[in-house]
């Protein structure tokens, strides 16, 4: 298969990559870019954990620490995990899975990538610590950077809460501007996917035959398209306030800082589902394949996906229970939040049931998928604490929230991404990675991750507030454990990614067309796929999970 032309080798110049409108290549370009930012955000996280390893300031000054957690948050959220699965696996797989030759608007797809790149560059500019390094810079450069409105890295936290974000001297405008531009890119990607899934499905690919990854990507795309504008306008207003002094969120001018939080979370709660829904999709693809069983409750999972996307829009103010919110709102948003718990639980039950009477093999993607189920159970159940009004009052803005969030996003979305990358690695690269190394990576990631964040639950229960540079000495041993975990976790990710990178470049083992005997459409073409995806447009006759021997009746 390798000697044939495929999307990787049919053109090889750099220029052909930079101007490509092929969704597969754009997906890989995204993958490369977000990996760089994953490393950058990870370095910030490690520095932060090292600082916190012992009580007292050891490594950096408080203001540097504040910059570190802001950068970690902003980079990981806006530059890494929001485009994380949709723009990489989504871009690569959506047309393949629905039997299309490309996304609906290929040029728009490339444009989204470049808009993303512009946003990324703006974010990088906002990171330059102009104030700290100006002594070593030539004067004209310092003057130029100052003229651009750059001073020091943003230290607002990734949430940019007003009024602190209105008065701090750092390059907040550039950071919020970057988030705005990245949001624009995200909107265009989402819009493209919605149209693609509606208009370009292969003959016979009805909605009840769509892979669950497509359902998840569709729900994600809807959120991307319709939630992002609200954060766009709030960030825009923040910039207007800083530049022109209009007073929408500024209490000195009659504005209401809590309104900013409403606007911000109207997007930033659904954005959690942008991150994690595609990971649900990935897990939903992996478990049936390695269990040789149909996905249990396919329809229930699809409806649950849509339900999560819709419910995700109606619960935003549960991030604001202590913000001065009215009681009426607090009651409503608490009750509404519980509605998300139900479809999420349904999904977990169905994944586990899929394995019943299966023929289960422990390939690396399956290990990640099973790890995901555990991590997501922890994430989901700790979410219940935070939805419960009286209890959330205690946990809000403590390490409990930090741990819960990381179980959801790192344990959910990032593990989902890594699982997906392993699973579709043969399809994307045409090679096989080293299975043993893959498993070692999994062990390190899984145990490192839990060691990092389980202690943080305990810290939160003890009342340790987040975003603290230093802490009372009784919290020290838990912080030390967490730091050790973070280091192991970091090594684990590096190991897993390097394993795949090595196999991609130097790997000898050639992947067959369909190494897992999957029934999904993307395995129906060669590995890696040809430029046009399929030799001829496929016709679909069944949903992609009809594994096993038909039985008369469902149990």
């Amino acid at each position: 298969m390798a000697e044939g032309k495929n999307y990787l080798n049919h053109e090889t110049t750099i220029w052909s990559w930079l101007t490509t409108v092929d969704h597969k290549r754009i997906g890989l370009m995204y993958l490369f870019t977000i990996s760089c930012f994953f490393i950058a955000g990870g370095v910030a996280a490690i520095l932060m954990r090292l600082e916190l390893a012992k009580a007292g300031g050891d490594l950096v000054a408080p203001d540097v620490y504040n910059v570190l957690f802001t950068l970690h948050g902003a980079i990981m959220i806006f530059l890494f995990i929001v485009p994380g699965i949709p723009a990489t696996l989504g871009n690569f797989l959506i047309p393949l899975m629905i039997g299309a030759k490309d996304v609906a608007f290929p040029k728009l797809n490339l444009l989204s990538y470049y808009i993303y790149l512009v946003g990324a560059i703006m974010a990088l500019l906002a990171i330059i610590p102009v104030d700290w390094i100006s002594a070593w810079l030539p004067e004209f450069l310092t003057n130029f950077l100052t003229w651009l409105g750059l001073s020091g890295p943003a230290d607002t936290g990734w949430t940019f809460y007003a009024p602190y974000s209105l008065e701090t001297g750092s390059s907040v405008i550039w950071m919020t501007g970057a988030a705005f531009v990245l949001g624009f890119s995200s909107i265009l990607t989402g819009l493209n996917f919605i149209v693609t899934i509606h208009k370009l499905r292969a003959p016979g690919m009805s909605w009840d035959r769509l892979p669950v990854f497509i359902w998840a990507s569709y729900a994600t795309a809807v959120i991307q398209t319709l939630a992002t504008p609200i954060v766009g306008i709030s960030l825009l207003l923040l910039i207007m306030e800083r530049v022109f002094g209009v007073g929408i969120f500024n209490p000195d001018l009659g504005g209401d800082p809590v309104l900013y939080q409403h606007f911000f979370w109207f997007y930033s709660h659904p954005v959690v589902y942008i991150m994690v829904l595609p990971a649900f999709g990935v897990v939903g693809e992996i478990i049936p394949v390695f269990s040789r069983k149909p996905l249990f409750g396919y329809k229930a999972i699809c409806y649950a996906t849509l339900a999560i996307a819709v419910f995700g829009f109606i619960v935003w103010a549960h991030h604001m229970f202590t913000s001065g919110l009215s009681n009426a709102s607090a009651f409503y948003f608490s009750l509404a939040t519980f509605t998300v718990a139900v479809p999420t639980a349904v999904k977990v039950f169905n994944w586990v049931s899929t394995m019943y009477k299966g023929s289960i093999s422990f390939d690396t993607p399956m290990l990640y998928a099973m790890g995901f189920v555990f991590l997501f159970m922890v994430a989901g159940t700790t979410g219940i604490y935070l939805a419960t009004l009286a209890v959330d009052v205690f946990y809000h803005d403590t390490y409990f929230v930090v741990a819960h969030f990381h179980y959801t996003i790192q344990g959910g979305a990032v593990i989902g991404l890594i699982a997906g990358l392993h699973f579709w690695f043969p399809k994307i690269t045409g090679k096989m990675y080293n299975e043993v190394a893959g498993k070692i990576g999994w062990v390190l990631v899984f145990f490192g991750f839990n060691l990092t964040f389980l202690p943080q639950f305990v810290l939160g229960m003890n009342g340790m507030p987040r975003r603290y540079y230093d802490y009372p000495p009784e919290f020290e041993w838990l912080h030390t454990l967490s730091t050790i975990g973070a280091l192991i976790n970091g090594i684990g990710y590096s190991f897993a990614l390097l394993n795949m990178l090595y196999a991609f470049i130097w790997g000898k083992k050639i992947a067959p067309r369909n190494p897992y005997k999957s029934l999904s459409l993307e395995w129906d073409t060669q590995s890696p796929p040809i430029h046009e995806n399929f030799e001829e447009t496929p016709t679909v006759t069944d949903y992609p999970y009809a594994y096993g021997v038909p039985v008369k009746e469902a149990v």
Binding site: A227, H262, F266, G324, L325, S326, A328
Partner: protein, 95 residues
């Protein structure tokens, strides 16, 4: 032209009457604004504006002839907007 399966063609007369209706409603909005109905001022103004917006969307933008999918993506954002405004009004006035 329906044979090529593309968009619906609306008679030009319809366009003209919609245009005239819009101008008429603009005059009405301005005229009615000189009377004070208290809290109803905003309701009346927004009601007329919504009729105008409806006319533009239905006829100028051919929404009337669009498939249910387009309707979903017109109504769902409006629902979200109502949700946002509703959520904000559930908070500030009850603090």
């Amino acid at each position: 032209m329906a044979d090529n399966g593309l968009g619906h063609i609306v008679p030009k007369k319809t366009y003209l009457s919609i245009f005239l209706a819009l101008i008429f409603l603009t005059v009405v909005t301005v005229w009615i604004a000189q009377f004070d109905f208290g809290v109803l001022n905003i309701v009346i103004a927004m009601f007329i504006a919504s009729i105008k917006a409806g006319l533009v969307a239905m006829f100028f933008m051919h929404l009337k002839y669009e498939d249910p999918l387009t309707w979903v993506y017109v109504l769902f954002p409006l629902f979200l907007l109502a949700l946002l405004i509703g959520g904000v009004f559930l908070d500030a006035p009850f603090r």
